[in-house]
Symmetry: C2
Subunit: 114 residues, 2 copies
């Protein structure tokens, strides 16, 4: 499949990526933030189906992996915004390929025309 | 990020893809099978850390999503092999981008040279 086909090093790097992006939410949150910084409630609206508890946990994990940054503004009450980092933006090609494959998969397996 | 930036259709296709590939194991199993069909125990050895129970569950899910096929050979005792399908092979670009990003992430965040 890949030129390096099946070698442990390739398996390791894919495993690293999957560990950082584990679950179905992180890439959707990053995608929501790719248009610009958002507040918690705005992300919650964009990412359909996520609970506040899960979103809160996922945001912390994304921050610890340097994929997003959290900014607190000195307003009253304080405003908190989340922004995608340069490292988060480096996932652009992964998201692009997942988007294309998701379209293909929807036609093939789900049999739905979106 | 994507040209269609943040539109609900793109979010939907990424969500479809993430649902089909949910968790950290499915893509690793597909990657292990990308070099040719394997038996259960062989996959278990290739995909480090997976338990038999999880592997069994993941193989069924991959089969229901038409990403792998299961072949039973009339030997004594019967041999069961799993093979990646054409639809599974269509994930090549996703795996490629995850591999590149995993390498980049390892350098950036994990600070390790593989």
């Amino acid at each position: 499949m890949l030129e390096e086909g099946g070698c442990p090093k390739t398996m390791l790097s894919i495993s690293d990526a999957l560990e950082a992006l584990d679950g179905r939410w992180k890439l959707l949150i990053l995608f929501a933030l790719s248009d610009g910084p958002l507040r918690f409630k705005q992300i919650s609206r964009e990412v359909m189906g996520i609970t506040d508890k899960t979103l809160s946990k996922e945001l912390k994990l994304l921050e610890s992996n340097l994929l997003i940054s959290r900014h607190v503004y000195d307003t009253f009450p304080p405003t908190v915004e989340y922004a995608i980092t340069e490292h988060g933006m480096s996932l652009e090609n992964v998201l692009k390929e997942l988007h294309y494959w998701g379209l293909h998969h929807r036609k093939k397996v789900l049999g739905k025309v979106s």
